[in-house]
Subunit: 297 residues, 3 copies
């Protein structure tokens, strides 16, 4: 099977993947896919997604092929579809990242081999959403009933829409905090209300005293016409040590990384900072995904 | 042993390699080269050759080292010879692609380790020729007596000269179709006539009704001084759906890939289109080559 | 443990590593680290260090992750520290090369996983020093009492300061030959005199008749304001065939490579030229280092 969007999975599917990842992370479940090859086709720069997929493949006993577009026949003008139809002959599962929305779905249509979407532009990044859900469940023991606050530019952040969908699936209480003009498109809020009955709370101020989980994402200066406004808004929405006063003791701060300056580096050393732990969960979770898509065929 | 040119191999050698690749492709023959390392040194961009060699190495139970010239000491001015003499210490077999003709032979002279030529400029690309012969034999059950038509810019296409040599070795009937000015250098035709008694047929028009195999290769607009002429010739020599009217039912269309627009994408879905299958044969064939050169020492 | 500087190791530590590398090179000692992953993080171009670490990892039965900064989130502005804290989750040992002095130490501070310094700017390159000591001991049977002459730009050559330290540790007789203005900083000579009682000999002329080992390193034209002076000095310090007249019969010429034109290519084929052998010792030596730092935890 392919994993292109979190919407391809039922709650039961997600649970199965998270449980498998739990077993792997706890050392109770061994994955042995010796002899299989994963191809990583990253048409956009990546650290975490690519390396953790490659690490996951190796931890499963597999090897990987790293397709490097910069050093390939793409320079000669080969189409994306032709590249996929060629590489499918060299590997057993394909992990694809591409700037264009819909490209992962296109890749999946081109080959009978399992395709995993490693992020297609501003569209879907389902393995990130699964890592986020997995991290929250590992850290808090559950997802349902938790207060999860998402903070930052929710208009452009690829992973946040899918995350709201995943959180709604598991009955979390979701609050969105964005600067004016950078709110999440209401279409995604209507979707989760209709599908899962979740009423998302919206705020314009960085206040998260009732949050169990604070999920921070980037605000890019380029999004603002006025550089002064950009600076003042980024300063206001930057998470600083003093912002943690009065918040829950066991607050977990997450971030999809890379972070630039939206979280004060002072916070890195505080127990609330859980984003590197979250990044490391990429390995057991992606091992579970590789095993899952290969098993489902 | 090294594999630098198809001319290094006798017909018996080629048969041995094709038979081995058959056994691998059919799952009857297992190659176990665990613990061995293949180094891929590609000084020019490549998708198929490099990835299929790496995939082949892993399918043989080996691992690979990917030397990336862009990120290496070459920037500091190291000679090609010194690079080869260094890397030979890190691997058991070296696959080399380089823009300069003769560079693979030079590499072979520098090291006692087996060197496989992954393409040296406009000169030799023996593993592509072997894949072409293997594909034809797999698809048609034989090579001798087949009508094989090569179409496109046969003046500049690196792989076509070696292919004519290989086809002549196996007693195929070869027809060459090229636009005026892009014909294959007669020296190669004289060679196969003298060595194998093959009289190659020549045509200036894209007509291939009697072909069992149509092998298409690129025509690059840059080869023409007059852009209008370039467009009209490329249009004429482009293989379109209607060109297949009246051709043999079981015609197999091959292409070394990447293709740009010399074959109409509509043809991709037709049963005659066999070029992706051909690309995939790169894996069993290159497994056979790796095994062969390592066994011959 | 981490390996950041040769100064982190006692003479006993170095001996243990060299003995282990001897056992590996002789085929008497097998290293089996199956299932472990080495991450190579090279923020600067490299051929030998990176490829030989990757080869060494595979010869130990491990696999490797190749972090390619050019194709990573660094482009998005991620800090070096954040990159290290992320990648530590994907591998068991990290090999880091970075242009900035102190960066390997910083990396080691960021992670509990073993970090090996693959060269940090003009500062430390301890695995090169260990290869140099290993090469001398393999070639000559010992280090103590040998006449080892270092020739070239000893002011800027990263590896030479550490090599003097390592040679002093093993009681070699060290002579330094440099053009005027490119002498090694006296601080390093005072250090070895104080620590090991070694009095280094200094010369301004390329004369090495009493040397058992001649270690050559680069002189870069850019170091001189006057291009005519640069040319005349580089010519004078270039090692030519006739310079070997009157030298010891079993003189071993070493070089950290890549070499440009500081050694006449004619010398490459002479028995005195041992630099490619030296480069190849990178594999057993780095296998020993990987095993050593993983065992020490």
């Amino acid at each position: 099977m392919d994993l292109i969007s979190i919407r391809d999975l039922t709650k039961e599917n997600v649970k199965e993947i998270l449980d498998l990842a739990d077993g792997i992370a706890d050392g109770k479940k061994k994955i042995d896919l010796k002899g299989r090859i994963a191809a990583t086709l990253f048409f956009e720069p990546s650290t975490r997604t690519k390396l953790s997929f490659q690490s996951a493949a190796m931890r499963c006993g597999m090897t990987y092929l790293d397709f490097l577009p910069e050093l390939s026949s793409l320079k000669k003008g080969e189409s994306f579809a032709d590249t996929i139809k060629t590489v499918e002959g060299y590997a057993d599962v394909l992990v694809v990242r591409h700037a264009k929305e819909g490209s992962a779905r296109l890749a999946a249509d081109m080959t009978a081999k399992p395709v995993v979407n490693g992020g297609d532009g501003g569209n879907q990044h389902p393995t990130q959403t699964l890592i986020d859900l997995f991290s929250i469940r590992r850290m808090k023991g559950k997802i349902d009933g938790l207060n999860v606050t998402l903070l930052g530019d929710l208009k452009h952040a690829r992973t946040m829409r899918s995350l709201v969908y995943g959180l709604a699936m598991f009955d979390a209480n979701v609050t969105l905090i964005s600067p004016k003009g950078l709110e999440m498109d209401p279409i995604y809020l209507k979707e989760v209300e209709k599908k899962f009955g979740l009423k998302v709370k919206l705020k314009g101020e960085p206040e998260f005293r009732d949050a169990d989980v604070l999920y921070v994402c980037r605000i890019q200066a380029e999004r603002f016409a006025d550089p002064y406004e950009a600076q003042s808004i980024m300063k206001k929405f930057r998470v600083k040590k003093e912002d943690l006063d009065g918040t829950k003791k066991d607050l977990a701060i997450l971030h999809p990384l890379p972070k630039i300056n939206e979280i004060d580096p002072e916070i890195d050393k505080m127990p609330q900072a859980r984003y590197f732990e979250q990044a490391h969960y990429g390995v057991p979770l992606r091992m579970a995904i590789i095993d899952y898509v290969l098993r489902k065929g």
